[in-house]
């Protein structure tokens, strides 16, 4: 299941030059760019693992691309995304967010149906990507 989160996820995967062009746009707007990665693409998992701190002082798109590539090399089978945070008063939110890497195998989600009190039913999504033998999800 091809995950479609963030901007540009309906377009073909971005090339390095395209990623850099978007980073440049973020920097020109004064947004803080950061890189994040995860193995859990659940739509409500919006806080992915941070690849270092947001690069508040970095003004060079090429240097940010270097960090993106370092994150991709270190996490070859994980999702990697770029965030741009707009700190302007009144906005104070993620202004642009796009996936720059995804694993070869994207297994998708299953629907969990939980029966509660009084025949109440609750539904939740479970990502198959988390179903791995105990201990295998985290670095040893």
């Amino acid at each position: 299941m091809y995950i479609t989160q963030g901007t540009f996820s309906y377009l073909p995967p971005l090339t390095d030059d395209q990623i850099k062009a978007q980073v440049k746009y973020c920097l020109d707007n004064g947004w803080a760019v950061s890189v994040e990665y995860t193995d859990d693409p659940h739509p409500r998992n919006f806080l992915w693992d941070m690849w270092g701190l947001p690069m508040f002082d970095m003004r060079d798109p090429a240097a940010i691309l270097l960090e993106i590539n370092r994150c991709r090399e270190a996490n070859p089978q994980k999702y990697v995304r770029v965030n741009a945070y707009d700190a302007t008063l009144g906005r104070q939110t993620t202004a642009l967010q796009y996936i720059v890497q995804r694993p070869d195998n994207e297994p998708g989600f299953r629907l969990e149906r939980q029966e509660g009190h009084d025949r109440q039913i609750r539904y939740t999504l479970h990502p198959y990507s988390l179903d791995r033998p105990a201990g295998e999800r985290y670095p040893k």
């Binding site: 479609t4 901007t7 540009f8 996820s9 309906y10 377009l11 073909p12 395209q18 062009a21 978007q22 746009y25 008063l89 009144g90 642009l96």
Partner: protein
């Protein structure tokens, strides 16, 4: 969701209820045409925009410029400014007659809807910017390949324009070309352009400005 027809007092109560119960409050502006487009007596939609922002609505239909629901570009821009900006500067062409400081008053998200489709993505971005909810209704559900394909076509079209704009391209001019190129790899977009690509609504708007800028020689 609420309508203007419930009355402003009820709208205020509903906004308080929505805050209390963690709901997003949508305002569908049915009925506004009876007074916002009446020049001799009536209330401009700029004023309605201001009221709904003050009474705590979360999104409101504020005109589309290119869809089946008419709208003059500069008037719509005035509504959008009133809904979104922290400080609205005097802009006679947009119908803003005095500076307005909104302090920390939260904005309202404008909604564009009514006859919009993937083939207009470049115009929508140009006229409305990115702080807007684009509601492609018939442009999604009426897609010949189904609703999911309709949604895909719209997302591809919008993302293409955002990408082009961010890369510094003249997306308004190159837009149709970018869409045609993308349609080569995206079958849903191709089908959407085949069905709706030529449809546009070109009639005179009744949301007319009261002030028109005239060119003056440079001082």
């Amino acid at each position: 969701m609420q309508d203007l027809t419930v009355g402003y007092t009820a709208m205020t109560s509903m906004s308080k209820w929505a805050r209390k119960n963690g709901m997003i409050l949508h305002l569908h502006r049915a009925g506004h045409g009876t007074y916002t487009r009446q020049k001799s007596h009536g209330v401009s939609f700029r004023v309605i925009s201001k009221w709904v922002r003050l009474l705590g609505v979360d999104h409101v239909h504020a005109g589309t410029v290119v869809g089946k629901l008419e709208g003059d570009p500069s008037m719509i821009a005035g509504y959008y400014d009133t809904l979104r900006q922290g400080f609205t500067e005097t802009n006679l062409a947009r119908g803003i007659y005095f500076d307005q400081d909104w302090a920390s008053m939260p904005g309202v998200m404008p909604v564009a809807s009514g006859g919009i489709h993937a083939g207009q993505a470049h115009e929508l971005l140009h006229y409305l910017g990115e702080d807007v909810v684009l509601q492609f209704g018939g442009g999604t559900i009426g897609h010949p390949m189904g609703i999911e394909a309709g949604a895909t076509a719209n997302r591809v079209a919008v993302e293409l324009m955002i990408q082009a704009r961010n890369e510094g391209k003249d997306y308004l001019r190159e837009g149709p070309d970018l869409l045609r190129k993308a349609a080569k790899w995206c079958a849903p977009l191709r089908a959407a352009l085949d069905v709706w690509g030529d449809i546009s609504f070109n009639y005179e708007s009744t949301d007319t400005p009261d002030v028109l800028p005239t060119a003056t020689p440079a001082q």
